[in-house]
């Protein structure tokens, strides 16, 4: 049974309680909406994470294979010489994005402009091009996976927090407010009945006195 809130049995308190109940019900509706959206986003992120993980593993394996073939063809030293010359910093654009009040990371790999590879195209074979393409693909997959995985963790934490709020509202706060409102309403009804009975009694006494 819901617990009663300790309040003075006055009409003002009843009005206040009714206002609090209205606010709680409004918040409950919004929190429930938020929970359903967060759950939807979480499930979507989970599905995408599984796919991204698979893509990352495949891309890494492809990149490794392509790199092995290229180094076998050109020789490890020659390939390394070309790759050192083409070394470039990787730039990732990172920014926050908000999903129902949860700040999630948004990562995006910046592609080099003009599609330049950096190494000498005349002295290398298409095997190096292939290794370069697959490596970039692997990098893209890693960044996508990082974004999704962090988002998944944050969404999971927020779902737990929101669930606690929903439960507190649904099973503690709202029932106790409703019970207290019912209790006060019954108390006022009882007072009214007592008042009526008293008035009737006074009426009878006055009538008897008159007689």
């Amino acid at each position: 049974m819901a617990q009663l809130i300790k309040v003075r049995p006055t009409k003002i308190e009843l009005v206040k309680l009714k206002r609090r109940l209205k606010l709680s019900q409004r918040v409950q509706k919004i929190v429930k909406d938020r929970l359903s959206i967060l759950t939807m986003e979480f499930l979507q992120a989970a599905r995408e994470t599984v796919n991204a993980k698979k893509r990352t593993i495949d891309a890494m394996s492809e990149a490794y294979k392509a790199m092995t073939i290229a180094s076998g063809y050109h020789g490890y030293v020659a390939l390394q010489k070309e790759l050192v010359a083409s070394e470039a910093d990787i730039t990732v654009t990172a920014g926050p994005r908000s999903v129902a009040g949860v700040r999630l990371p948004s990562l995006e790999l910046n592609e080099p402009s003009g599609g330049l590879r950096g190494y000498n195209l005349t002295q290398t074979s298409s095997l190096v091009d292939s290794a370069s393409d697959t490596s970039r693909e692997a990098l893209r997959a890693i960044i996508e996976l990082a974004e999704l995985q962090r988002g998944l963790e944050l969404l999971g934490g927020e779902i737990n927090r929101t669930k606690r709020i929903t439960n507190a509202l649904e099973y503690i706060l709202i029932p106790s407010l409703q019970a207290t409102i019912r209790f006060l309403a019954m108390k006022f009804e009882e007072r009214d009945r007592e008042e009526k009975a008293r008035l009737k009694r006074v009426k009878v006494l006055l009538a008897r006195k008159k007689d």
Partner: protein, 158 residues
Amino acid sequence: MCPQTIREDAESRYERFLEAYLSTELRLVNSGLPRARRTLAELLLEEHPSVRCSDGSDQAFKRSELQFLSGIIEESEAAELPLPILIELAGDEHEATVLCSGEVELKVLSRILNMPLRYESPGRVRIYKPQLSVVRRKLRTTTQYAFSARTGDEARLR
């Protein structure tokens, strides 16, 4: 009904705290709403496209998403597409309302969902949860949720 137990003062203090906390929760859910929306044409010109949110933070847009959007509409329409696209949730668990200020947003949604859409009421397009999931998958940073305390019926009447 008669009272089982009467709470102590400490508990009523806890309740007041909970009430204040809930009011904060209301502000938190809509903290990601933009202060002002910006058009796709403007955002495409920026190095780091973003908008300022109501809580003062920034919402970053992915360039790949902006390019995807510019690919599905005419070049001239980019100046008429305000971003982020707002999706209102108003009490109904099975549907959401996309707030469309112009025909371009409707066109974008139709292209993404691959089906014709129409206005439910002026400036509002109703979509269902599975469709919402499709839209969010394609436009992760360029859409934003708006939580409303109105009921689904009230939202429909507007």
